[in-house]
Amino acid sequence: MAEAVDPAPAPALEAVAVSKTYPGSPPVHALHEVTLSAQAGQHVALVGRSGSGKSTLLNLLGLLDRPSSGEIRLAGTDTGTLGDRDRTAVRAGRVGFVFQAFHLLDYRTAAENVEVGLLHAGVPRRERRARALEALDAVGLSNRAHAAPATLSGGEKQRVAIARAIVTRPTVLLSDEPTGNLDSISAENVLAILDSLKPTGVALVTVTHDPQVAAAADLTVALADGRVIDAAVEG
């Protein structure tokens, strides 16, 4: 009798033949049948010139937008059939976002900004502060928990933003130019933090122009004119 073999686990995140066309005259074809996947614990870098479709793809992967065709799958489940409320709920619990401009609320402390990430994730209020402090500790900012964003450096702000993204313990972390506004030392710190997340099993997808970030990724996918022109496994 043949021994049962466990099937390979589904990728944490997949884009399958995804296209995106913006209506207009003429319509803009931002993506053409893009396919890629990110396994749990894998870091995928999306590179390409401005207008190549990187950010469009990231928004589709993060369920902020819907593809015109193709599928976005999370843990093997097609998200195309989900209604808006369910997509929102999935974002809240499974997807983390890091933005180039940090997007911190300037009237809240670092810890409170991190707690905002838990607001819609179903985490009881009494647990939020502890989770936020834990996330800040993970990015090396436990001593700045009560600092206002205005008093933080650019690198610290981005680390707070990363803490906000990982505080929900997402399965996918999407970053859009996370080092774009940082000096080289801060960029290295942020990159090190992102790298340190891989053992937790989170799939990282990072849009970047930074060769250092691309070099640190496990897989680099190059886009041009909305198409995948190259996919290279790093190192």
């Binding site: 902020l64 059939t81 369910d86 709920a89 809240a92 619990g93 009237y107 179903g122």
Partner: protein, 418 residues
């Protein structure tokens, strides 16, 4: 494009969520923190509500204050004096015979009393005695009506004097032909400053002017009359035949009792001969005044609502652009459209309620200051003060609907790019 919902897929991807009560508490907390974090903008947003509610509370307070003041004046005016008139023409007996005034003055609650009646003669200026009688022109000779009054009448009417004094018993019996003029009558007859030398002519006889009064409480028509002592009038023109009137100054609580007792006292055989005269009818006038003030309050309230709604809506609507990234961020972090809309509405509601509280304080201060400046007793409408915060909150929530709708329908991708 509409998407068919796939519940099993949703369940496999969703993580457990909190209860609705917890979500509502989170929204209120987020709204409050958002307002505190932008306290300057929140204050600017609340300004229209502050002004509107202050105007509302001020208007309602002044309405209540003015209403109370008007009521008090009507009541004191009506209650401090009783006037009884002889309703029987050409009666065989005088309405107020010898001893009548003394009997009335002896009643409990009566402070003073005096009777009066019209005399069928006119008073003219003294200079008319010396006017040329052979003038080819018909000359205008000013004259005023003459009223006979007992010495206590002007006192009972609370007369105030411009010059001299009123009639006394001594004047009537010792000095003989004297007269007191109402201010209007004095002006008509050219009497400016009686000093014992001024006289007017009544029925061809000179009467010395001993006083000019400028105000009476109950019967302003006396200001146009020349008033002679009742004893003089009886001596010269006989007793009154009809139209006599009795003015009685009373303690306010005794007014109705006195009005009821005097006819029985003076004419027990026919109490209906004396009829009470009420110069002002508070039950008729007061509702009219109250109605006018209520109309004013309604207009102010509607204006307040419109200004407040517009103020909040415009300010919040214009703030959405600068808060777009926050909306995009919250949507990315899992906030639904309803969550975003609810936060904007709650923020607007809190602004409205907070503005209303400040507006109440300002309105109360305004009422007190204005009332004090006019020597009124400030009266605050408790219901208006109680309802104002709820009104402010309602106005805020209403004003927040449009901004909330716009914010909740921002495309998160576009919002995050701003």
């Amino acid at each position: 494009m509409r998407h068919r919902r796939d519940r099993p897929a949703a369940r496999s991807l969703r993580r457990s969520g909190g209860g609705r009560a917890a979500a509502a508490r989170d929204i209120v907390t987020e709204a409050a923190l958002s307002l505190l974090g932008r306290s300057g903008r929140a204050a600017a947003t609340a300004l229209s509500v502050v002004i509107g509610v202050a105007a509302f509370v001020t208007a309602s307070g002044l309405t209540a204050t003015a209403g109370a003041s008007v009521n008090a004046r009507f009541e004191s005016f009506a209650a401090a004096e009783v006037t009884l008139a002889d309703s029987t023409p050409n009666a065989s007996t005088p309405a107020f015979g010898p001893g009548a005034l003394a009997a009335v003055r002896g009643l409990p609650g009566v402070r003073g009393a005096g009777d009066l009646w019209s005399v069928p003669v006119r008073a003219t200026a003294a200079a008319t005695l010396f006017a040329a009688s052979d003038s080819p022109y018909v000359q205008y000779v000013p004259s005023v009506s003459v009223v006979a009054a007992s010495p206590g009448l002007l006192s009972a009417d609370h007369a105030s004097y411009k010059f001299g004094a009123g009639l006394t018993t001594v004047d009537a019996h010792v000095h003989g032909d004297v007269v007191v003029l109402g201010a209007t009558a004095a002006a008509d007859l050219g009497v400016r400053s009686p000093d014992g030398q001024e006289a007017v002519i009544v029925d061809g006889l000179p009467f010395v002017v001993i006083g000019v009064f400028k105000g009476v409480q109950s019967d302003p028509s006396l200001l146009t009359d020349a008033i002679v002592p009742d004893s003089t009038a009886r001596r010269l023109w006989g007793p009154p035949h009809s139209g006599s009137q009795l003015d009685i100054a009373v303690d306010p609580p005794a007014a109705s009792q006195v009005e009821h007792e005097v006819p029985l006292l003076l004419h027990p055989e026919d109490p209906t001969r004396l009829q009470g005269i009420t110069l002002a009818q508070p039950p008729i006038v007061q509702p009219a005044v109250t109605s006018d003030l209520t109309s004013l309050l309604t207009v102010v309230t509607l204006a307040m609502l419109a200004i407040s709604i517009a103020g909040i809506a415009v300010t919040m609507y214009s703030s959405i652009s600068e808060r777009a990234f926050e909306v995009g961020l919250r949507r990315a972090l899992g906030a639904t459209r309803l969550n975003v809309a609810a936060q904007f509405i709650v923020e607007s509601l809190l602004v409205g309620a907070g503005g209303a509280v400040v507006g109440i304080a300002l309105g109360v201060c305004a009422v007190v200051v204005i009332a004090k400046a006019h020597a009124w007793l400030p009266v605050l409408d408790a219901s208006a003060i109680a309802v104002a915060p709820a009104l402010g909150a309602g106005v805020g929530a209403l004003a927040g609907l449009l901004p909330a709708f716009r914010a909740s329908h921002l495309d998160p991708v576009e919002a995050l790019r701003r």
